[in-house]
């Protein structure tokens, strides 16, 4: 089925006991793209990915990867996909390069493992037992294991969690190169910048549902500019409402938290002057006043009513 999309999920429902982790999710991933599934912890990202990888049987709905059923056609599908799991996935006493070599041996046409180790900065820890690798090194080894078999589609779950900035850049470069060479990359992340800089398509998932899909530009295109106001101490009671009244109905004021506001509308002199006057009247001092197009963080905030900033490691 050469023309089937890389991934096609329709009406997927997954439950753990009486908790619904994935709630009627539709997802389509075109071949030869980097597609990010973005969402907070517990949004159902990992569960969705593990259903695509054949680990879980859909409770409702259908999942197709490269046109195949990941459970029924598991044997045919597995050699064609690469999987990077969250967390470990190696023997504690195995050396890093020995593990990569082992996974390579299970494939027909594996990549050159020393090239791969070089690319991912694993050369220095090649003889280190897995349990003594740092979290970032384990992540990079996990990525190497996912791509060593030269798959058509790779699923990477939170690929850069716990990596230092240098390693994150290396990982992004590798994933981009995979896409340029014809591999489809499906990744989950809760990092906005990762999705925005890396992905061709972004699917924002919350509470097991798709809340928005599109390219980074489509998602952040709102036409109007935004002003992000941060003040030094919490706003007085009723402040957002009074600012809204001062600015008029053409401009939208959205409180983000105690000390910041998002103002969407034409950012002209009048608006800025009104905001400045309002600050003086309320007795609050602006700490920062940022003008710009809305970014993915703003989009996410609007769609879900909360930020992603303080999310830690995903569990499911």
């Amino acid at each position: 089925m050469p023309n089937s999309p890389a991934v096609e999920v329709a009406g997927l429902v997954m439950r753990y006991g009486d908790k619904t982790a994935v709630d009627g999710l539709d997802l389509r991933v075109e071949r030869n793209t980097i597609t990010a599934v973005l969402g907070p912890n517990g949004a159902g990202k990992t569960t969705t990915l593990e259903t695509c990888e054949g680990y879980r049987r859909p409770h409702e709905g259908t999942v197709r990867v490269l046109g195949l059923d990941p459970v029924k056609d598991r044997k045919d599908l597995l050699p064609r996909i690469g999987v990077m799991l969250q967390g470990s996935g190696a023997w504690s006493g195995v050396k890093a390069m020995e593990m990569l070599q082992h996974i390579a041996r299970l494939h027909a046409n594996p990549l050159d493992i020393s090239m791969l180790a070089e690319r991912l900065g694993l050369r220095d820890c090649g003889r280190t037992p897995y349990r003594r690798l740092s979290g970032g090194q384990q992540q990079r080894l996990g990525l190497a294991m996912a791509v060593v078999g030269r798959p058509e589609v790779v699923f990477v779950d939170e690929p850069t969690a716990g990596m230092d900035p240098q390693a994150r850049r290396t990982t992004w470069e590798l994933l981009s190169e995979l896409r340029d060479d014809g591999v489809t990359v499906v990744l989950t992340t809760h990092y906005m910048d990762e999705a925005e800089k890396l992905a061709d398509h972004i699917h924002i998932v919350d509470h097991g549902r798709m809340v928005a899909s599109g390219t980074p530009i489509e998602l952040t295109r709102g036409g109007t500019a935004t002003i992000r106001l941060v003040v030094t101490k919490p706003f007085p009671e009723g402040a957002p409402a009074s600012l809204q009244a001062a600015l008029g109905p053409a401009i939208e004021v959205k409180p983000i938290n105690d000390t910041s506001l998002l103002i969407t509308g034409p950012a002209d002199h009048t608006t800025l002057a009104t905001v400045a006057a309002w600050c003086e009247e309320q007795g609050v001092l602006p700490e920062s006043l940022n003008l710009g197009q809305r970014n993915l963080e703003d989009v996410f905030l609007e769609l879900t009513g909360r930020g992603l900033a303080h999310t830690a490691g995903d569990t499911r």
Binding site: L85, R105, L106
Partner: protein, 260 residues
């Protein structure tokens, strides 16, 4: 499309190559693990030397042959038990814990291949154990009855069926309990069977309890090895007992094993 470094070329290696890779990987990991080495070689060697030396000073009831001829086959049975049951259970328990089985579940290696790889690893380790223990036994004056065709058949069948029986029971334990519980229970069962399971000492050394031990996998394997090495016989009844344990262990494992 131009070909780049990562241009897809997917596919699994031929199954035989995958199984050999898995077997050699697991055997290397077992050999590298200190505790498993203790269990696989050091304890059986100590039991053999200790038993033979001890018998010079204390008379052991129930032994009709030269002590080394009684103990050496029993210690080989003990070695099979330590590897196929205890080592396998512990290793598999931690593979589940560390997500190794899950990771391999996303590789081209099918589950049957994983199982075959494990069996291969067990046979590699057991071959090494047999060489070491055989040499120690010969150094202690062991005269194995090995020239007889019945002896060879008995030993080979005993090791193969014994390995299957203990491996199915080891996987049953590893697939149902948490890793730490498996570690404790697999060692405990090993110690209990070593002491009271008629592996090293023949059934006749256990008095009235003796006939029961013949139905334990430990006693059945010990009997098979002693019959072969002492008398050149095939212990058909004991082999049947091992086959029955294999059947029970396999069915129970298939029903209860949790891959994650």
């Amino acid at each position: 499309m131009s070909t780049g470094t990562f241009t897809p070329a997917p596919g699994g290696a031929p199954l035989v190559r995958q199984v050999l890779a898995q077997a050699s990987m697991e055997a290397r990991l077992m050999a590298r693990n200190g505790e498993q080495l203790l269990l696989a070689v050091v304890i059986p060697v100590l039991v053999l030397i200790g038993g033979v030396e001890g018998a010079k000073h204390v008379s052991i009831t129930g032994i009709s042959q030269r002590p080394v001829d009684e103990f050496a086959p029993g210690v080989l049975a003990l070695a099979v038990m330590s590897t196929a049951f205890t080592s396998l259970a512990i290793a598999t328990g931690f593979e589940r814990r560390y997500g190794v089985i899950k990771r391999l579940g996303a590789s081209p290696l099918p589950r049957a291949g994983l199982l075959l790889g494990k069996v291969g690893a067990l046979l590699i380790v057991e071959a090494c154990q047999i060489v070491v223990l055989g040499l120690v036994g010969l150094a202690l004056g062991w005269h194995p009855h090995a020239g007889h065709p019945g002896a060879v058949l008995g030993v080979v069948l005993g090791i193969l069926v014994g390995t299957s029986a203990f491996a199915s029971l080891g996987l049953l334990m590893a697939g149902a309990l948490r890793a730490e519980a498996t570690l404790a229970a697999a060692n405990l069962v090993y110690l209990l069977l070593m002491a009271g399971g008629a592996v090293v000492l023949p059934q006749s050394a256990y008095g009235a309890f003796g006939h029961v031990t013949g139905y334990l996998p430990s006693g059945a394997l010990g009997n098979t090895m002693r019959a072969a090495f002492l008398h050149g016989n095939l212990a058909g009844g004991s082999l049947l007992v091992l086959v029955a344990w294999t059947a029970v262990g396999t069915v129970a494992t298939v029903r209860t094993f949790q891959w994650e």
